[in-house]
Amino acid sequence: QQQVRQSPQSLTVWEGETAILNCSYENSAFDYFPWYQQFPGEGPALLISILSVSNKKEDGRFTIFFNKREKKLSLHIADSQPGDSATYFCAASKNNAGAKLTFGGGTRLTVRP
């Protein structure tokens, strides 16, 4: 049973558009939600994260919207750039020391110039 699900599996947008990546989770005990960005041939790297006490987190062009009641969150990438083309992973864990991350299956984003 996959505890963290992502959709769509792949997404193509034009340069300048807003890309929306979706994520949902099963475990109500999860309260820390990081998004990781992965370029081909590299390991994932933390992009932005949110705690369940917040419903929104912004960092430049990247924004997380979080709905605790529906167990859903989304990553919005405003003014998408070709350099944003990568695979994005939503993850979840309990917010305590040593907590394990559970990853979703990823969304491959392509931004066309």
Partner: protein, 113 residues
């Protein structure tokens, strides 16, 4: 700058052979993790460690062993490799304080023939 390195970067093994994947981190992080990445499954946790001498089973430990001889080094061992273990393996390190961010290595591509 924090760094996680993995060796080898590519490995071809035969069915039934023994494979050891190595990971070294210079972050002085207590926690280290081994994941495998397969299309559609995201990253799945195999084993992790809270410090030298400790290893814990992750979500998919069957067929794998782990060893943490020091703060810096964490190995993943496949005693009897099988074709189903063909995958890309990532090591990560993480702190137990602050953001709980995990820092990933560049990955090892393992092919079991």
């Amino acid at each position: 700058e924090a760094a996680v390195t993995q060796s080898p970067r590519n490995k071809v093994a035969v069915t039934g052979g023994k494979v050891t994947l190595s990971c070294n981190q210079t972050n002085n992080h207590n926690n280290m993790y081994w994941y495998r990445q397969d299309t559609g499954h995201g990253l799945r946790l195999i084993h992790y460690s809270y410090g030298a001498g400790s290893t814990e089973k992750g979500d998919i430990p069957d067929g794998y062993k782990a060893s943490r001889p020091s703060q810096e080094n964490f190995s993943l061992i496949l005693e009897l490799a099988t074709p189903s273990q063909t995958s890309v393996y990532f090591c990560a390190s993480g702190d137990v304080w602050g953001s709980y961010e995990q820092y990933f290595g560049p990955g090892t591509r393992l092919t079991v023939l």
